[in-house]
Subunit: 658 residues, 2 copies
């Protein structure tokens, strides 16, 4: 498409394959996609797609009694031929892109067959796109990359070429499910399930050739708002019948439809509580309508009281998901996936793990991340989030001997397999993601969802190699800028895990007290003596008790609690000494000055890339780094001034605090 950045799939990425003789064996829509990729590659780079004779690369989709996973593939070398085998087109597609990423390395030396299969079966992107522009939340809720690639002018786009290019990008990194509309389902969007279904089918056709099943977010009240029933009670036979009939119609139009995503009883959305039903009863009602067709309900655990009274020190939003969901373990049908935000609150730059993830061994769980940078700089700031997700997926809730979060979600820890879900950061911006470097978060999400054991640096290295090929200086500079950018963002924003010191309107930029007296249940309790939220069992809200050992004890004690989460779990005086040896208030000053200095270094490093990256990328990133510099200084100065005014403790190094 003219003017649209190719992201990590520029023509150059296909040079190694395109310069060779390639054979593709197999049938079906996804194999056809692979064949089309090869055709384009060889046309551009001088190779050939052949049916007979010797080849450099053979891509074979064929039955194999030893393989059960359609997403798996085997890569090996037979003589001078690299061979990729899979039992399904989607496995072959993943194998093809594996070879793309390997580049020349795929064609050198001898290599034994090696099987690759995803560690997490569900690898899903949720789009918070609205069909109609919402008066407050816009076309894409929490979207920072322009309009929707699916919708414009109140309808599904006539021209779906951007969606098609997007589907190709997602297929290349192993994403296998996409939810097409915002979890907050407004009036027009509700109708995607019924009279707008033909348009959904058009979108499903766009995603199908890339091995991706589409989902819809649905409103729990749909039997009333769309069906005209007097109730949405999940145990009401007429309600169940409505969901069954409606779902059957969806599958008649889209046989491989993935299922529903549901935000219920959450921030004002309708749900089963209105009928005295629990969330298992709610989820199962929908699940049974989907079960005959192989569909899945993704039921979000993001349920909490958003009409809290700040004067009430007992209620703790962090506790809510566990309080609501842990008791329901074992009650969910097999085709329900409970979708749990990675942290207990809401996508802050730093949170502990959501304790729900370790509390539901008989439930399929999906861990939910945000690729869209709602609280992490809104694609104006460089904030490479792959290290955060890697840390979450590798976290061991039962300590060093126990399984990781990825093991739990991947079905390797006793519980049935779920996966990972993330909110997309893509819009109709020419760079897809607003900030060109934010493409790496989308890429990295897919790669980490495929294999959580990949290191963030390795994933970033893949992305750089594909997107900015051939220049070691660019590679080095981007690692310098991006590898540590999550920690940089953490340093200049809310300190020590306390979160939230953000403008309530829009979630961008600092407002230290912005949520301090709010009904959303998000506080820091700073006074002239100290700061932090006491979530201990002994004197606080008891949230630490939702974790299994050892973390219930590690977090409980101010002595053992990790510095980076200290204020999430404890209210401490400003002169409390961290494990780092600094006082809390000096840490606040130091980290905020350091974060801004790191941004300055990003700017310098990026400036050296002029002429080494495409000029439109250079200009966009340069302009955004200017905004990041301004905003980081604003964070630094407001946070430092706030704590200086409150504590009266001067900076030990005498720097300017206003």
């Amino acid at each position: 498409m003219v003017g649209v950045h190719p992201a990590w799939l520029p023509a150059s990425a296909f040079r190694s394959i395109g310069a060779r003789r390639v054979r593709v064996v197999g049938d079906g829509p996804v194999v056809a996609t692979v064949r089309g990729e090869v055709e384009t590659a060889v046309a551009g780079h001088g190779g050939a797609l052949v049916d007979d004779g010797p080849v450099d690369l053979e891509l074979v989709c064929a039955p194999d009694d030893g393989e059960a996973d359609p997403e798996a593939f085997v890569v090996g070398r037979a003589g001078s031929t690299t061979v990729v085998r899979a039992i399904d087109g989607v496995g072959l597609l993943y194998g093809f892109h594996h070879v793309v990423r390997l580049g020349e390395a795929a064609f050198t030396g001898a290599a034994e067959d090696r099987r690759h299969a995803p560690r997490l079966p569900v690898r899903m992107l949720d789009h918070w796109d609205n069909v109609d522009v919402h008066p407050v939340m816009g076309q894409v809720e929490r979207g920072y990359a322009g309009g929707s690639i699916f919708y414009a002018d109140g309808a599904v786009r006539a021209d779906l070429s951007r969606a098609r290019a997007y589907a190709r990008l997602l297929g290349s990194i192993g994403v296998n499910r996409v939810c097409l509309n915002n979890v907050n389902v407004h009036r027009t969007e509700a109708r995607l399930l019924t009279d707008l279904l033909p348009d959904v089918a058009r979108l499903a056709e766009v995603f199908r050739p890339h091995g991706i099943r589409v989902h819809l977010s649905v409103s729990f009240a749909a039997p009333m708002t769309l069906g005209g029933l007097p109730t949405a009670d999940p145990l009401d036979p007429a309600v169940r019948d409505w969901w069954a009939r409606t779902s059957a119609e969806v599958y008649a139009a889209i046989p491989d439809f993935g299922g529903y995503v549901v935000k219920a009883d959450s921030e004002g959305s309708p749900g089963p509580f209105a009928y005295g039903r629990d969330h298992a009863e709610g989820a199962n009602a929908l699940a049974r309508a989907l079960a005959p067709f192989g569909g899945t309900v993704f039921w979000r655990a993001f349920v909490y009281n958003h009409r809290q009274d700040w004067r009430d020190r007992k209620t703790d939003r962090a506790r809510a998901a566990h309080d609501h969901f842990a008791p329901l373990d074992g009650s969910f049908d097999a085709n329900v996936v409970v979708q749990v935000k990675s942290g207990p609150v809401d996508f802050q730059v730093r949170e502990p793990l959501s304790p729900v993830i370790a509390a539901m061994p008989r439930t399929r769980l999906a861990v939910e991340f945000q690729v869209t940078q709602e609280y992490t700089g809104q694609q104006k700031h460089v904030c490479h989030l792959v290290p955060q997700w890697h840390e979450v997926l590798g976290f061991q809730p039962w300590g060093e001997e126990g399984p990781t979060v990825a093991d739990i979600a991947g079905g390797r820890a006793g519980a049935p397999a779920g996966g990972v879900v993330a909110v997309s950061n893509v819009g109709d911006d020419p760079f897809w993601t607003g900030h060109p470097l934010a493409q790496a978060n989308l890429f990295g999400f897919g790669r980490l969802a495929w294999d959580d054991r990949l290191t963030p640096e390795a994933v970033l290295d893949e992305w750089i190699g594909l997107t900015f090929p051939g220049d070691p200086a660019v590679r080095e500079a981007l690692h310098d800028i991006m590898d540590g950018s999550w920690l940089t963002y953490e340093r200049y924003t809310a300190p020590l895990g306390v979160g939230w010191m953000v403008n309530p309107a829009g979630h961008y930029g600092p407002s230290v007290d912005g949520y301090e007296y709010s009904p959303w249940g998000t506080y820091h309790f700073a006074d002239r003596d100290g700061v932090g939220v006491d979530r201990t069992r002994s004197t606080g809200t008891g949230f630490t008790g939702q974790f299994p050992a050892p973390w219930r004890d590690v977090y409980e004690s101010v002595e053992t609690c990790p510095d980076e989460l200290l204020l999430f779990f404890h209210h401490v005086p400003y002169d409390h000494v961290l494990h780092s040896g600094k006082t809390v208030v000096q840490h606040i000053y130091d980290s905020h000055f350091a974060g801004c200095e790191e941004v300055s270094r990003m700017v310098e490093t990026w400036a050296r890339l002029e002429g080494r990256v495409p000029p439109e990328v250079f200009e966009r990133v340069t302009a955004l780094l200017q905004e990041q510099t301004r905003c980081a200084a604003e964070w630094r100065d407001q946070v430092n001034t706030y704590f200086w005014r409150k504590s009266g403790v001067p900076d030990a190094r005498g720097r300017t605090i206003h």
Copy 2:
């Protein structure tokens, strides 16, 4: 109109006149209005409108060599006949409503002729109504009474019956100018000046029979945006020609058009600064286009830097209007009125007088108030503002021997006469003003604009007598609730004149630090030791120096500065002792508890009126008092908690601070 509250003109208000024999003498559209009022009154109450024979009331519009003011009227008794005389229909209308307000007292005893004339020639209401619903500010910017009575669905309403009833209400209280559209002129609204002019003419026809001239807010950039010129430079001949031609067309359609209202170089609006011109050059350019037709430019002095850096302690928004305008005194054309907000900042519950008002003796000034309760409870809270305006109009900038603000604006202090302007609080709500008791603010504005020497209690008493006739218990209760309600609102909101501790999004409810790090230039600088803004000459921004003696010295000294403005002018420690004998922090606690207790008493007092006021009024006010109670408690608790956390000083009376 069905379902619309009659405000202060129910049929009962006309009983004394309507039961009598009345003669109306004179011609013209406004005399016709008076005649129509009499006709309706006598039809409802058994009297008669007669041409001959003895009458109880004679209303005479006729030339009188001794009278020059068309708005003046004389009332007297000749035998058993009450006689009202005026030289113009509008004077007769005002005299008629004077008799309405007097009721039976107009028809008893002997009374010498007494002349009544307005003290302030300009008595204007500005509507911040948008033709199109603005995506952020809505149909009526800062409107809290529903939609616009002028516009709906992106156009001037076809049915102007509400506008007609509104014009009648305004005529009855002496308002003589109305600006029809928002000072922030958006795209559709700009076209009121050109292709939508026929609709403006329809509105002018609605207001004309009530002696009211209509105005339009215009954009300084109109020569470019509407006229297609490359510049809006006020000294450019083509620009001047465009304004001249455009104005001529307006007057061709509306011969008694009042003129323009201009918000220029203010909060992002275009203005003369872009061309290196000052505001006199800007205003005069428009004034010269209007002068041939007798039109006036109302040029707002609300010019300040709204992109301020909170780290900059030198810039002071309070100084801005004086800095910009005082040097221009004497440069404005005779048909320019400089419209100055009553305080130096922006309609806070308590501000000192704007020093501009005492600084431009050769300029026509209008003092601008807000009848719409933007910062004073948004017509959810009872906040009777007439005492505030009375205090402003009676303020003596040069001390006890000097003229008042009303003298300045009324042309009795050397400067040419201007007047008063206020932002209307009216919308298409059935009670006109959202809160039924907020009607008293609209009524009181008109009455005080006519005669600033009326006491707020007397004005309120008139309103009660007209609106809720005949029940002394209601009268007493409403005085109890409303007389002191402005001070009550002050007590539970931002303390001691510091202002602004309000939610930036929407200006309703508390957010103590909401503006503390904002570009809008509105701070309180609270730290662990003290609070307030140092605006002294000796150590602060020097704002005190913009006042003449004695106030420049009264405000400069922490010893003499009035308590209620202490934190506007001074940064003081929490243990600073006020003239009241309390420390600042104890005053904060005490006033906030007291304010909430006063709201509780309002609720009790109002509850006793069940069955004594119309049920729909009772219910609406009861519901709003519930919200006021909730919101006042929120203010109390957030402000008290904020200062308790910062100061560490406990409440001397041990009350609950969270």
